[in-house]
Amino acid sequence: MPGPLEYGIWLVCTLLEGAVVVCAIRSHSFRRYIFLNVYMGLSFLASVGRYQALSHYGIVSSQYAYFYYYSDALLTIGLYFALLNLYSLVFDEMKVERYLRFGAVLLLAGTAWFSYAVVQQSSHRLFSHFAYELSQNLYFVGLVLTYALWGAIVKMRETRARLIQLVLALGVYFSAFAANYALQNLSSKATILHFVTPILGCILPAAWAYCFLRVNEETRLAPARLVAVPR
């Protein structure tokens, strides 16, 4: 069973997830960033549900494990749509929404097909294997898509501060998990890493809540190239 420190980190993380939705509503940005808020709302509900399952059945119970992994698959799909929400905002002036939707559905279908192809040999608990594999694969797709979006932002010299911070927070979040995964593989016995993973889970809600609370939608960044004009 997790200790008081782990419970504390989990509680902070859950409160931050709820805070994102509250801050977005307060800054009148709920509808503009609808999928980001839906994802954070789902994360909040999943945390409450996981706590219920954990306290009733224990961490090694199959009930908690199934609830955890199925909710994780659902949340990863939510994160994928949150990322697409950011894509549509970055490219909104180019009027390519139709193509973005087409590409997003295609990529999701391709990932689902790939996940099914990996697990189809196991006749035992096929759906559970599929949900688990899809969650893992979508994580890596999200990682690649986030870096691609950051590349597009840099290339297009995007100046909307809130949008840039939201994407950067997502990039830091994915990168931190990837680095943590690599560290775990290097030294799996380091006990400090048990606390690092849940702390990393707080990065995204904390950054997004701060962004909705402090950064105005109209705030623009002044690109350095505009300051230095060549003669």
Binding site: P2, E6, I9, W10, V12, C13, T14, E17, S43, A46, S47, R50, Y51, L54, I59, V60, S61, S62, Y64, A65, Y66, Y68, Y69, D72, L75, T76, L79, Y99, F102, G103, L106, L107, G110, T111, F114, H124, R125, S128, H129, Y132, S135, Q136, N137, Y139, F140, V141, L143, V144, Y173, F174, F177, A178, Y181, Q184, N185, S188, T197, P198, G201, C202
Partner: protein, 72 residues
Amino acid sequence: MSRKLTVVLLAMLVLVGAMSLKTVAVTHGDGSVIMANGGAPQPPVPWKNGGAPQPPVPWKNGGAPQPPVPWK
């Protein structure tokens, strides 16, 4: 038409890149998983060994106590 084909190409590129990245990460990893949603403690994967408890490996030392290595 060409725009749609470009979208298909980009989607396939992202998919291939992501799956290659995953293959590299999993191959060099210890089989653990990346779970990036929320701060809840991660349970063991329930379907890894079926529902039954995992028995000790029978061919490790047999039932007898392990003797000291004679050539040490």
